[in-house]
């Protein structure tokens, strides 16, 4: 643990490439037909007719299925939300966003599907679109008359309208948009499946959450979960958007059954951008109050969450925004209120951070606004308000029980590594000389919750085979995180068997009995710890077998991890090797598998990683162009298993955070048409727009689990987003600018400069 181990996954990816759903050449898919969805081209309309006759006559068409052909009730929303918001499998009466599936075309070949889908004519009678959630929250028009409201979920703590700011010397208010972004995994959604003669379904799908996907698919197909064999092939990124199983994926299995044909579906990028789901999308009102010496005493956050047309996980995420609202600060008075409202846009869901980046962005903007108001250095204001290092565990007014932390320590480290004083001096030089390129320095300090939503238990099975090779099964489901290497390291540490001899299996529901998948930065602290615990048990069991072989008491047996052999304490020369022990265990148990140990681990609760980021930008005050020149980050996630993998997680998160702050935004026009619905129009961040990142190590262990580990997957987006946004605003703050919403594009920055000059 803690050593830099190169990934065992990589040789395949680098020689023949991964095997993603679209790459499958499995014989069970022989003769598979293709599914192509016809999608709504309008945001809100009554469907007055669907004419599929010409499409049905097109070459290769096996069927055109509309909602009327499906004897399935609509899909109710999760999390106890109002069933009136249920989503039809295929729209029948009303479409509610551009990209909503209206029909499924099944063709012999893939190209034929594209051709035939264009021949399906849908007649629409336009309805007024509701695109802005703030309007939708109060509008008379109900998008779902059955629901009786446009509000899908609401959360509150304290009274945002009360007297909490009475007595504050300074109160600052700011409206903030936490922009809607596209998760945009490089691999789009895809599913392939075949029903066997035995009535079992074999299905491959691109998911972060195999067992939940299996259960959802089984329920929708009307079979028991055991009748579904779900195989997760390589998954080309998820970022939260592949936690749930979309109706389009499930429908592939349903249609395969009714058509009695193996079927495949891979969406295209435009479909993915318009219909997979989006992240963030909050309108926030922040109010922060305190004294002129920099002490913050009250903070209120009001949120209007855009849930999109059919409320999904995104409607629930303001719960985590609420929980993390106070951030790293000891603020006595906190109030929060959110409503999640439906609009004629695509639904929102989890995207790397999922409700927590929104909380951090709000409080970190608030602190900067407060610092600007009292003309104090923003780093000093943070220091003055941090929860103290000796105050852990710390229960916040919003119900988060922070396990361990050293927030001032993280900030000090990042400021020292960045050379904060020198940066401020350089900034002053440029301001004094009126340089066209101004320097901006943005700081953020964060705490986040990982493994916050569970599931908290996770299964692991370790088998030491008579060959001396080891197989480890896990219920987590990696899609780039490198569990095959990191879980092998955890097993290797206990077993004394090299990583190269350990194979990690995941994502196949026939091979792994249960699993919680990979999301919410849970995998290491649930699944990784489970592997560790079961490996420890495996050694205990092996010692008992070795004791018999060595004719000694079990308590006297030692495992020499360097040599991978067992011996009696004090007699290192007479040994039993792992293969011998595994063979003996196999003989005893009457199995060829070897020594088999299965178990599970249940985490006591969530953990709270923390850190501080500093971003440096140059802003051309003539054009508004922003260049991100440095990101320095301290991300403390407790003990690190494989620094290579942990750093990779930080890099990717930082880039996605910077992307939202600088240029990525999923936009709709006032009629509800997506205007950034493909990769040509969406500002997906590219290599030339980013610097190399400067990572600083810090590791404060947690006592929540035996490894002392926390999650690292989402720290990057949580810390970097506000640091970069704050840097851009800081670069032009001397021009009278307090706030610029994300993304801080050249145009927005230029306009802010013009408005600043006009004041």
């Amino acid at each position: 643990m803690g050593t830099r181990v190169l990934r065992t996954e990589d040789p395949k990816f680098l020689t023949v490439g991964g095997t993603y759903v679209d790459d499958l050449r499995d014989e069970r898919l022989t003769g598979a037909a293709w599914v192509t969805y016809v999608r709504s081209a309008v945001a809100h309309a009554k469907i007055t007719g669907i004419d599929a006759e010409e499409a049905r006559r097109a070459p290769g068409v096996l069927a055109v299925i509309t909602g009327a052909d499906l004897p399935l009730p609509p899909i109710p929303p999760q999390f106890g939300m109002n069933p009136g918001f249920a989503k039809p499998w295929l729209a029948t009466d009303v479409v509610r966003y551009v990209g909503e599936p209206v029909a499924a075309v099944i063709t012999e070949q893939r190209y034929q599907g594209e051709d035939a889908a264009e021949l399906v004519v849908v007649d629409y009678d336009a309805l007024d679109p509701l695109v802005d959630p703030r309007q939708s929250a109060t509008d008379q028009q109900l998008l779902f008359p059955d629901a009786g409201t446009n509000i899908a979920a609401a959360f509150a703590i304290g009274d945002v309208d009360g007297d909490m700011f009475d007595g504050c010397e300074v109160v600052v208010r700011q409206d903030v948009v936490n922009s809607r972004v596209a998760p945009a995994p490089l691999e789009v959604r895809g599913t392939a499946c075949a029903w066997g003669d035995d009535g079992r379904l074999t299905i491959w799908t691109s998911t972060q959450n195999p067992h939940a996907a299996r259960d959802a698919i089984a329920a929708s197909c009307g079979v028991e979960p055991a009748q579904v064999h779900l195989i997760t092939p390589d998954v080309g990124g998820g970022f939260g958007a592949k936690i749930g199983t979309s109706p389009e994926d499930i429908l592939v299995a349903i249609l395969a059954k009714s058509l009695d044909r193996p079927l495949r579906w891979t969406e295209n990028r435009s479909e993915n951008m318009q219909a997979m789901g989006h992240g963030r999308a909050q309108h926030q009102k922040i109010t922060i109050g305190g004294s002129r010496d920099g002490k913050v005493t009250a903070y209120a956050l009001e949120v209007v969450q855009d849930a999109g047309a059919y409320p999904n996980l995104g409607a629930f995420l303001p719960f985590f925004t609420q929980m993390m609202a106070p951030g790293v600060y000891d603020i006595p008075n906190i109030a929060y209120k959110s409503v999640s409202v439906v609009t004629n846009t695509c639904h929102t869901l989890a995207y790397r951070g999922a409700g927590r980046p929104e909380a951090t962005a709000a409080i970190e903007r608030a602190i900067d606004c407060f610092a600007a108001e009292i003309a104090m250095d923003p780093a000093d204001v943070r220091r003055k308000n941090f929860i103290a290092k000796d105050a852990f565990p710390h229960m916040t007014p919003t119900g988060a029980n922070y396990d361990s932390g050293d927030y001032a320590g993280a900030l000090d480290k990042v400021l020292a590594a960045a050379g904060y004083d020198d940066l401020r001096a350089e900034q002053k030089r440029r301001r004094d000389s009126g340089a066209q390129k101004q320097l901006g320095i943005g700081v953020s300090a964060y705490v986040e919750i990982t493994n916050g939503a569970g599931p908290f238990d996770e299964l692991a099975r370790v088998e030491v085979h008579p060959s001396g090779d080891v197989t480890v099964w896990t219920g987590t489901s990696p899609h780039g995180q490198g569990h095959a290497t990191s879980w092998a390291m955890l097993a290797s540490d206990e077993l004394g068997i090299p990583v190269e001899r350990i194979t990690v299996k995941h994502g196949d529901t026939d091979e792994v009995a249960t699993g919680g998948g990979t999301m919410g930065s849970r995998s290491l602290q649930a699944g990784g710890v489970a592997v560790h615990e079961v490996a420890v048990l495996t050694v205990e069991r092996a010692k008992s077998v070795a004791a018999d072989l060595l004719e000694a008491a079990e308590g006297d047996i030692q495992l020499d991890k360097d040599r991978g052999v067992f011996h009696v304490a004090g007699s290192p020369d007479e040994v039993k090797s792992w293969p011998e022990v595994a063979a003996a265990a196999a003989a005893k148990e009457g199995t060829e598998r070897g020594l088999v140990v299965e178990g599970s681990f249940t985490a006591q609760g969530a953990t709270f990683p923390f850190g501080a980021h500093l971003a440096v930008v140059e802003v051309d005050t003539g054009t508004g162009r922003v260049d991100l020149t440095r990101v320095v980050s301290v991300d403390d996630a407790g003990k690190i298993v494989n620094p290579i993998a942990a750093e990779g997680q930080r890099h990717g998160g930082i880039a996605q955070g910077a992307a939202q702050a600088l240029l990525e935004e999923m936009r709709y026009d006032p009629d509800g048409n997506p205007v950034t619905g493909n990769f040509a129009d969406y500002g997906f961040i590219t290599a030339d727009l980013l610097p190399s990142f400067e990572l600083v190590d810090m590791a404060t262990p947690t006592t929540i689990n035996p490894l002392g580990v926390k999650g690292i997957g989402e720290s990057g987006t949580i810390g970097a987003t506000p640091a970069v946004q704050n840097a851009v605003i800081d670069a032009v703050a001397h021009l009278g600018i307090r706030h610029i919403d994300m993304p801080t594009t050249s145009e927005k920055v230029w306009r802010a400069i013009q408005e600043g000059a006009a004041r």
Partner: protein
Amino acid sequence: MKVSLTVNGQRREADVEDRTLLIHFLRDQLDLTGANVGCDTTSCGACTVLVDGESVKSCTVLTASADGSDITTIEGLSPAGQLDHPVQKAFREKHGLQCGFCTPGMVMAAISLLEENPHPTEEEVRSGLEGNLCRCTGYHNIVAAVLSAAEAGK
């Protein structure tokens, strides 16, 4: 129409629909699934292969127009399954990949970049790879890998 091209050193003749994109020919007819389709606007570069030694987004090329060309895909770099090419090696050593989806295209783009400019600066690597998108790595370790491969090639 009939086409004839060389793919990873092998002569291939095939009958393709006129509109067949090179990436679909490689993936669907030759089962070379290393290169991927990541977008529909020639933006992501996941489909990058070498055509006559130069990196090309194979979703932008009709198979017909590649008639007679010499194509190299990721599968052609190390036929024995080892990491024979210095760029492949560097991607592993620098952890220049996570989910792996952009990797085959990214590696081919990097090879082409280093052919043109064997000793690039970091900035040149970044601008050279600007047409290849990665969602996982933040490009940090990809850039490190390309610089390291360049260093190894000195």
